[in-house]
């Protein structure tokens, strides 16, 4: 697969305070994003995710390091023609209507006039805002702003889309809709660089991830390689049994309606437990094997750091 984004040894520090004192934000970031994948860029608040994105987009200049987009300098116009960007908590010219707003961004990308109208209508439909096309942005909710921001990022039909916390501030339905759009972008052959700290979303849609902590990438690779398939714990919900009967089998918690949640850490014990429940006329309501999650990996990595 072709590399669409290559970052090599990226360093960035900011000078703050009355007597300027350098604060290192990025300490040698290196990563590669392949064509057609959804790349998750994970990290706690303040890790340097947005700073990395700003360096890539040419909004700030790195102290050291090299950034290439489609094999060209990230600052070249040819590279910028192929990218789209949705910032975190986007703010736009709120006196413009959704259509006027997209029309303005379309003018910046030199879209042909005849194509412009059709493109704007398609994008408004894609992000579910076709019914508010003539509404001023000042009347938009946060979720609607996020969606119009996504439409703006796609106005030039980019091959690589950078999304900074695109699911922040959205309700569950809104999150699902944006997730669906992101997956659809991948289906269209676009590459998505998704910066977020909402792990469930990343886990659901990303092909590869990089975990950033304090300006260092501490882990990166395909999701299935990073997360172990081995069952960590099996959760069994049981009724018709006394908690004493389950002693020494695992951790047990009383749940509502006389049900007991039993957490078994040794996989080989499961068959014996099920047999015992059957013998004692108990009932198994559910049995869920839990493998390692991205959250476990993330929390472990952050703690280790």
């Amino acid at each position: 697969m072709d590399t669409v984004l290559r970052i090599e040894d990226l360093h960035k520090s900011f000078k703050t305070g009355f007597i300027p004192k350098g604060k290192k934000i990025l300490n040698g970031i290196s990563l590669e994003v392949k064509a057609g994948e959804i790349f998750g860029y994970l990290g706690p608040n303040g890790a340097g995710k947005t700073t990395t994105l700003k360096c890539v987009l040419g909004l700030i200049f790195p102290d050291k390091g090299n950034i290439e987009i489609f094999g060209q300098s990230n600052l070249s116009m040819q590279a910028k023609e192929k990218i789209g960007f949705l910032p975190e908590n986007p703010y736009f010219y709120d006196y413009l209507s959704a259509t006027e707003f997209l029309s303005f961004y379309s003018d910046l990308t030199l879209a042909k006039k005849e194509e412009k109208k059709a493109k704007i209508a398609t994008l408004l439909k894609l992000v579910g805002l076709e019914h508010v096309a003539s509404l001023q942005l000042r009347k938009f909710s946060r979720g609607m702003l996020q969606r119009i921001g996504l439409a703006q990022a796609l106005i030039n039909d980019p091959s690589l889309v950078f999304l900074d916390e695109p699911l922040g501030g959205l309700d569950p339905l809104g999150r699902k809709e944006i997730r669906d759009v992101i997956v659809r972008l991948k289906g269209e052959g676009k590459t998505v660089f998704l910066s977020s700290h909402i792990l469930q979303d990343i886990e659901m849609i990303c092909d590869r991830v990089a975990i950033l902590v304090e300006g260092h990438i501490i882990n990166q690779g395909p999701l299935q390689d990073l997360i172990s398939e081995k069952v960590k714990v099996t959760e069994i919900t049981i009724s018709g049994m006394r908690p004493e009967d389950l002693r020494d089998l695992g951790e047990h918690y009383s749940a509502q309606g006389g049900r007991i949640l039993l957490k078994v850490f040794e996989e080989e014990k499961i068959a014996t437990i099920l047999q015992m429940i059957q013998t004692k006329k108990g009932k198994v309501h559910s049995l869920i094997p839990r493998t390692e999650t991205l959250e476990d990996l993330f929390v472990g990595a952050v703690k280790q750091k």
Partner: protein, 254 residues
């Protein structure tokens, strides 16, 4: 195309600024106020209206240029609209030039509106409108082009309050620096005179664009002066804009 798109959006934004209309209102009040001054004056009443009218155009035009110009770029950075703009295939100089031209368009329309008020007052008094009035207004606009460039330059690296103070200082210094030239002419030859001349060259001389006295008193204006004043205005504006672009080109948008 890209510069035009930014200029239009800047214009749309600027005409929504309430400060603009407040200043337009005060300018109108001042121009109309000259009617009252006429009642208290003995002599050529048209001179009073011309003098007060042109001064109002100049002062309120400058205030518009500074108060709106100093916030234009800063607001884009503060509200982070610049993030999405500069991630598009657009050069930083194109963005800055678009902002500048958008504000100039706004100022041109405001100056035209103030001129209409001014001329209506002239017509009401049945005073003849001389062509030289338009020359004076044209040079007020040339001065506004320069002041706007200065306001945008400061806006590239400073807060609106500081930028306003810097730009106002530029305007005030620009209108008194001619005094330095008079002083230099009376100085004896020597190091201090050379130093004073260097300072005078570096400082702006906005009196180059002031033709109010000539218009009010019907004095002849040599064509050579037009040429040099225009050239001075264009070169100074280009220099300040180039400086602004240099500052903006390497700026981090945190």
């Amino acid at each position: 195309m890209k510069i035009r798109a930014i200029a239009i959006i800047t214009f749309k934004e600027a005409i929504r600024d309430r400060i603009l209309y407040l200043l337009l209102f005060f300018a109108a009040v001042c121009i109309i106020f000259s009617r009252l001054l006429v009642l208290l004056t003995v002599g050529d009443r048209a001179k009073i209206i011309t003098d007060v009218g042109l001064a109002s155009l100049s002062v309120f035009g400058t205030l518009m240029a500074i108060l709106i110009g100093t916030g234009l770029v800063y607001k884009e950075i503060d509200k982070r609209t610049i993030y999405t703009l500069l991630s598009k295939p657009i050069q930083r100089y194109q963005f800055l030039l678009g902002k500048y031209l958008g504000l100039l368009l706004t100022l041109f329309i405001m100056l035209a509106l103030m001129t209409v008020i001014f001329l209506v007052l002239f017509l009401l008094h049945k005073y003849p409108i001389e062509g030289s009035i338009f020359i004076a207004i044209l040079f007020i606009f040339v001065e506004l082009c320069l002041i706007t460039a200065v306001a945008i330059l400061f806006s590239c690296f400073s807060t609106p309050i500081l930028s306003t103070l810097f730009s106002l200082s530029f305007y005030l210094i620009g209108h008194v620096s001619w005094g330095l030239e008079t002083l230099i002419n009376k100085m004896p030859q020597g190091g201090i005179k050379t130093l004073a001349r260097i300072i005078y060259i570096l400082l702006p001389d906005l009196e180059n664009f002031n033709f109010k006295t000539e218009v009010v008193h019907h004095l002849p204006i040599p064509p050579k002066i037009f040429f040099y004043s225009s050239l001075y205005g264009i070169l100074y504006t280009v220099f300040i804009l180039a400086l602004a672009m240099m500052v903006f080109r390497r700026r981090d948008f945190i």
